[in-house]
Amino acid sequence: MEDLGLKIFGAILTTIMAFAVGMTYGGIVRKLTARVQNRFGPPFYQNFLDLVKLQSKKTNVAHGFMGHTAPVWIMVASITVLMFIPILNGNLWFPNLSFHGDLIFILYMMVFGSLGMALGAGQTGNPNSAIGVTRGLSMMVGFEIPFVLALVALMVQYHTTSIQDLMQIQHESGTWLIFSNPFAFLAALFASLGMFRYSPFDIVGAPAELASGPMSEFGGKYLGTMMSGGSIFAFIKLTLYVDLFLGGAGNPDHTGIWATLAGIGVLLIKTFTLYMVPVFYGWVSPRYRTEQAIRYFWGWPTALGIIGLIWAVY
């Protein structure tokens, strides 16, 4: 029973950490972007302020049941996936609830939130929301292909569908998967451009074009909760990439408090580095149209993915 209590405590801690990290990263990116564009920009903790403001709004506008539950779906997806992703390799404090973090389950669970949000956005009746959703879904068909190719390549190469095992393999062999299957990594990296929806793939929210896309009609507690969920999600994606390709963080042999903190530090460095890729790419690229985005993903990234898969098989 003690074990369970520890796990629950760990789970809550993980969630909070993921939330904090995600929000902070978002703030930092806002700041950096502003600097690049020669603006002063908000402070890095601006996202927290926004959240506080949203959550403390007195009046909230609800657009019916699906609109009401949309944030719930997002939170469910975020937290559930978070629970299944190993944050630190073999560390008790960040429980691996995952019975090995099954990749296929995670792939599908990640859609859960988007689906809920899409339905909620649909119910609001705002055409911009629906357009945003269709764009998002269409683009998803684009970037999932290289992403899945990369994942299948990993699964095939190492005969496992578990993230934990993949991390363990990297830990034991000392070689990150980025080196043992670079093509798969590249494919996944390209896919991540779409996943983070920074320019040129910011066609879903498409500021100034679709208002804010699916989010258009949400405000107050709803938008606040959605933002929290989204931040957790950003952290999840980054951690997933790090776990899969960059060797993960943490050391199963040392689980002391200092080792854990060091692990978190490593994780933060790795994730932040990774995060900068789409952000940098976004700084220099104008927005694609949806079909261009899809075509983009079906081009080189998919080819790389196929090469990666062939690489893995032979």
Partner: protein, 619 residues
């Protein structure tokens, strides 16, 4: 009298009664059909047990009825869905014309399927197969002549399949001297060494019903043109008869193929798998450009059947299990979805998604059923659909090493999100139409079957084991040994597991917690508004305006995937059909109408025969 006959007789007599009774009391047919099917089901599930057989002779042919654990699985689908769909049908069909005709064929179709399930020999199998086919054909054309071309197409392809099957059946008789399915398998009819055409022809026959590419072109319209209460069975149960046959044949091939011909069975695996995969992809991308919800679902059915075929084609334990699991789950959610479409059609008058929107407030229960089914369809955890998808992927990756096929299937199932969303959004979300103001929730007898099915999806997600049990027995009947299963833990052969009840409780807890949080927080300050109250550039749309985004929903995707839309199988078949008709038209020109020409034919024929008489009529 034997129980098999009694069940068939109950169904048959209720078909006849339904036909007659409508002339006496209008609208009573539906109730009679429902009672008949229910009675048959009760009898089936209470009195009949696996292993019962009954032999008899008809027309000089030894025949046998029986029930084995493999067919029992399909009996669950057919009878379960049959009872619910007929209950649903009572209200759905109310007030329509020719109800006697409809229910007669409705019950006959079920009779046909039950007969197929009972058959232990090919002849009864074929007889019931054909009964099922023509009775369903009669329902397909029920809606009128506009759809009769559709009916013809359905019938042509069904006949193509059925006759391919018949050829194989009589060949088995000719070569192995038996019509019994078990004996034929034991005699090696499917062992692929010689007479390899037998299993191929059988597979073609089943592939038609399973709407496998390139034999699927009948399906989209046939599914969408029939009354929805029937399509629930049509797509949910009848397509599974094809799966039943394919399962039987494929597993026999895989388990009986001798080593020296294993390369052929490998080719077969690949061909079937890829056909299934391509079916899934093509049907999906066609589904997402539809504007009629019924057609969307029809294409989606084809795509789902493609997954099932992929699963069957692997021939591995997990793959076949995934296929059979998906078959059951598909029956459940596609049955529900067609019922949903039917409910919308009945209440709102149309299922054209460009004309209907915002029904969620009007038909909340229907929406709920649709939502659960769509989640299952998309394969999103934690419902039953995910379990099937998980097993399918795992089997492809871990067991049959068919990696690129995984990608194809995955592409299809990702694109499936698009039409899933389209369906829910198009019918239930968006702004409310003025024309649909009067719409009310569907009657109770329609809602109940939908909700029962939707709840079944939750159960199959939480405890997939209740389906694994009959599936495992069925697979053991087919020749797989030691089929392991757990109540709610999925395991692949690398030993990795996914615990469904665990996932389920996690999602449940988080959902409830966050839901309570979001509901209670600032509960008083929450203002519920209608769909017209939106912030479009600071203006509120007028009452009569509808801003819902419905036209060209996935146009960008369509443009991106344009090459895939270029060649439609339908067009190819139409071209073939037209070419054949031209040939036929040319052929009949032989009958010139001139008597003298005919006389000339006679003489020419005479001369030819006389010239070749020695070679033709040698002793």
């Amino acid at each position: 009298m034997n129980l098999f006959f009694i069940i068939l007789l109950i169904l048959f007599s209720s078909a006849i009664l339904a036909f007659i009774s409508n002339r006496i009391v209008r609208g009573s047919s539906g109730i009679i059909a429902f009672i008949g099917i229910t009675a048959a089901s009760i009898l089936f599930f209470t009195r009949l047990s696996i292993g019962n057989t009954y032999s008899f002779t008809l027309g000089g042919i030894q025949m046998q009825f029986g029930l084995n654990s493999f067919t029992y699985l399909f009996a669950i689908i057919v009878l379960g869905l049959g009872v619910l769909a007929s209950l649903y049908s009572i209200q759905y069909m109310k007030g329509k014309e020719r109800l006697g005709y409809f229910y007669f064929n409705f019950v006959l179709t079920i009779l046909g399927m039950v007969g197929i399930i009972f058959s232990q020999d090919f002849i009864t199998f074929f007889i019931f197969w054909e009964i099922m086919t023509w009775s369903s054909y009669l329902i397909v054309i029920y809606n009128g002549y506009s759809s009769s071309k559709v009916g013809i197409k359905y019938m042509i392809f069904s006949a193509l399949g059925a006759y391919a099957m018949l050829t194989a059946i009589v060949s088995i008789k000719g070569i192995y001297g038996t019509f019994m399915i078990k004996d034929a398998i034991a005699a090696g009819a499917f062992n692929f060494t010689d007479h390899f055409y037998i299993p191929i022809l059988l597979l073609i026959g089943f592939a038609v019903k399973a709407a496998l590419m390139p034999l699927h072109v009948w399906a989209p319209k046939s599914y969408s043109m029939s009354p929805m209460s029937f399509t629930a069975i049509f797509s949910g149960a009848m397509s599974k008869m094809g799966i039943l046959g394919m399962g039987l044949v494929l597993t026999s091939i895989y388990s009986h193929a001798s080593p020296e011909v294993s390369v052929y069975s490998l080719i077969l695996k690949q061909v079937l798998g890829w056909l299934g995969g391509i079916t899934a992809v093509m049907a999906t991308i066609y589904a997402l450009i539809q504007t009629d919800a019924k057609k969307l679902l029809a294409y989606s059915s084809i795509a789902q059947l493609g997954y099932i075929v992929v699963g069957l084609s692997t021939g591995t334990k997990l793959g076949v299990m995934a296929a059979l699991f998906l078959a059951v789950v598909h029956a459940i959610f596609k049955g529900t979805l067609f019922m949903v479409a039917g409910a919308v059609e009945r209440q709102a008058g149309t299922t054209d998604m460009t004309k209907v929107s915002g029904l969620i407030r009007k038909m909340p229960y229907t929406f709920f059923a649709a939502l659960l089914s769509i989640i299952a369809l998309a394969g999103v955890p934690p419902l039953g659909g995910f379990v099937g998808k998980w097993m399918l992927y795992e089997s492809l990756i871990t067991e049959s090493n068919n990696y690129f096929l995984v990608i194809v299937v995955f592409f299809s199932s990702t694109a499936a999100f698009l039409y899933s969303y389209r369906f829910l959004f198009g019918l239930f979300l968006g702004q409310e139409e003025k024309e649909t103001e009067h719409v009310k929730e569907a009657p109770l007898t329609m809602v109940i079957p939908m909700l029962i099915l939707a709840l079944l999806l939750i159960v199959t997600g939480l405890y997939p084991g209740i389906l694994f049990e009959p599936i495992a027995h069925g697979m053991e009947y087919l020749g797989y040994s030691h089929v392991n299963w757990d109540m709610s833990v999925l395991t692949n052969i690398w030993g990795e597991q996914t615990n469904m009840s665990y996932i389920f409780s996690l999602i449940g807890i988080v959902f409830v917690v966050v839901f309570i949080f979001i509901t209670l927080k600032g509960y008083k300050g929450t203002r519920n508004v209608g769909t017209k109250e939106i912030s479009t550039s600071g203006e509120i749309p007028l009452e009569h305006e509808n801003l819902t985004y419905q036209m060209d929903f996935f146009k960008p995707f369509e443009r991106a995937a344009a090459p895939l839309y270029k060649r439609s199988m339908n067009k190819i078949w139409n071209d073939i059909g037209n070419a054949l008709e031209a040939v036929f038209n040319f052929t009949r020109k032989i009958y010139t109408g001139n008597g003298q020409t005919y006389a000339l034919f006679v003489i020419i024929f005479l001369v030819i025969l006389l010239i070749f008489k020695d070679s033709l009529f040698a002793n």
